[in-house]
Symmetry: none
Subunit: 202 residues, 4 copies
DNA sequence: TATGAATGAGCCTTCATTCAT
DNA sequence: CATGAATGAAGGCTCATTCAT
């Protein structure tokens, strides 16, 4: 017994699957019902676990938000890396980034919204900045590269511009997918935005 | 009872003072405590009225939001009109608008935040668009005028650009005043943004 | 309407009946089920009020205890005053007090027990002393009077003895009514105690 | 598995150490936090064992109390035996017993309190009497001896008096160490009590 | 219109206990 | 014997809304 036990102890792993299941379930339920209206009971039901088990992994309902936000940002960065080839000229890159942002926003709009409101509810807006940091850095590199290649104006303040770009793009995509009732003009919006950005950085 | 009631009906005047007091109180309490944490009890206490009286003027806690939003937008438009002289060249106007946006955001940041989250909670994001309509229109005029005077590029899609501009400006100001812990770089942020916009519309 | 309203307003009284009903109900339910096992739901059900109403009068379940304790002590003092005539010789007074203590303990044993454990749970044992103060004072007077009449030894420390007397009497009565399974020897216990006290103070 | 088990069975020894560790831990945690607020989790953490292991030794949280009470009484009796020499005159013995009671109460006050409330919660107050039985008997002997030596009055009811004495002493000590905020008058209290007892038994 | 006491549904969290390993 | 993750029942408290006066 001791032997076989210690055998299992060697391979003993804290059940990350369960944590993942909770997270997935939370994203789905939050997206449907919103943050406040969601009961922990709903999350655990969908996750197929007991009420109490939830609190082994997250100490409260709101403690889910940062984890969800990190997951989200991870996805964003992966998609960006996939879609934006390093050898393209700057304006092609902007095209790709804007399109990616719109597509991501369309798909993740509920999660995005819940991250915003979730973090503002918990009062931890700086938390959000910390989570976004890798994305800012990614954009920094892209801009630095463009400055080097003289594709955009030289004196530009990198970090501020990174934030500004990410801001406009997300704002615009939200305009289209969250606020407007009709989605039809997404193409025009994208075009106008791409032009505006490329022009604005010259 | 009916008599005295009808008596008052003769001189019936909607008690704007009381409605106004509720609104003011709501803004102040919401700003401090956030939307969800604010109890109707808090609002009425500060307004100096009874719990039940609240429901004579607003049918629910969330019904306050649109009214608050309208009030906010009204203030914004007034400030813009004050600060942006019609005879200036376009880039001076942008300077003024950007500065105004930052200043307004600094002052109204809590109210802005609560309007966003409030309207998203009530699911009525289109409501928000309706309220912003006058602001969009105001910006439309400004852009049309600039196109006419050949201060910006001709083919520009007016409404999309209006939304985009308002979006970047508010986004950026929120970056500075809500997300960043240090406010010191507001000037640099403003400069970079002004340049970006003027350039982006050329 | 206004008239009739102001008429009622004149006679407007905060519903002390309801507070009393809650207290009565709490005593009865606590006595049956004990402090911890009692649900607020039980109390309000027996009181015939809504769950929320409870919290208009007491801010938590445990906030009931001091009020109950005060009520109890009030009863004790009234009974003592009733039963102990001022003109009796000291040993007759002790007889009366001992008997009263035993009778009261028999009747109120559950309430007594809940007050002890309730106040110790809330950590406010000094609170209990404050509530008992009038009883101590009552006993002080009795002893001072006896000293004056040379019925007990002169150098006695009044307050300490008051506490000691009340202590033994309550302890003994609890022995009989709470700890022992058979109540038959109550008489013998009383006799022994009376003798012990009278002798002890000589 | 079975093999290794039977292997251990050969040298099978009930792990008194672990049971003891649980008991020690329980006493310490109960004393700090009280009975209800103490979680089994707290006990096992301090005992350095797993949650489930607890239930191998005690079938519930409350099952700890009698064991703790027994331990306590054992200590009390040992101290009494140590301090009270058989050859002393009765009043010297009372002096020693009163002092011992006060000292024990000062040291064990939390444990005492938890035994009282613990046994009353479990409804098993008679249990407490059973545990106290050896103490009562010890006192019986002392009184019988004193009667024989004509140090106290002859007709005294032994058992009742034993209970009464133990009661007053513990009550008084608790008064001083649990209820009063200032401990300074312990000496006076002790003196008064000694006199009262010696006198009361004459 | 105004009041504010009363309502009661609703939900988060705790924690004693179990059981598969 | 030992483990500790998992369970899920249970309950205190909140607060938006109502309604009798």
């Amino acid at each position: 017994m001791t032997d076989s036990h210690s055998f299992f102890l060697e391979g003993y792993i804290i059940d990350n699957t369960k944590r993942e299941r909770i997270l997935q379930s939370a994203i789905s339920v939050f997206s449907e019902q919103g943050l406040e209206k969601t009961k922990v009971a709903d999350i655990v039901k969908q996750a197929g676990i007991a009420q109490g088990t939830f609190y082994l992994y997250f100490h409260s309902k709101y403690a889910l938000i940062p984890s969800i936000a990190e997951k989200l940002l991870d996805d964003i960065l992966n998609i960006m890396d996939e879609r934006v080839a390093a050898e393209q000229p700057f304006d092609k890159k902007i095209d790709a980034i804007v399109d990616a942002t719109f597509d991501i926003t369309a798909e993740y709009k509920d999660v995005l919204a819940l991250c915003y409101s979730g973090l503002s509810l918990s009062g931890a807006l700086q938390e959000w900045e910390k989570i976004y940091e890798p994305y800012y850095r990614w954009m920094d590199h892209l801009l630095e590269d463009a400055v080097e290649k003289q594709e955009i104006r030289p004196g530009i303040r990198i970090r501020i511009t990174s934030k500004m770009l990410i801001g406009v793009m997300e704002e615009s995509a939200e305009q289209v997918y969250l606020f407007d009732e009709q989605y039809n003009d997404s193409t025009e919006y994208r075009e106008e935005l791409k032009l505006f950005i490329v022009q604005g950085l010259k």
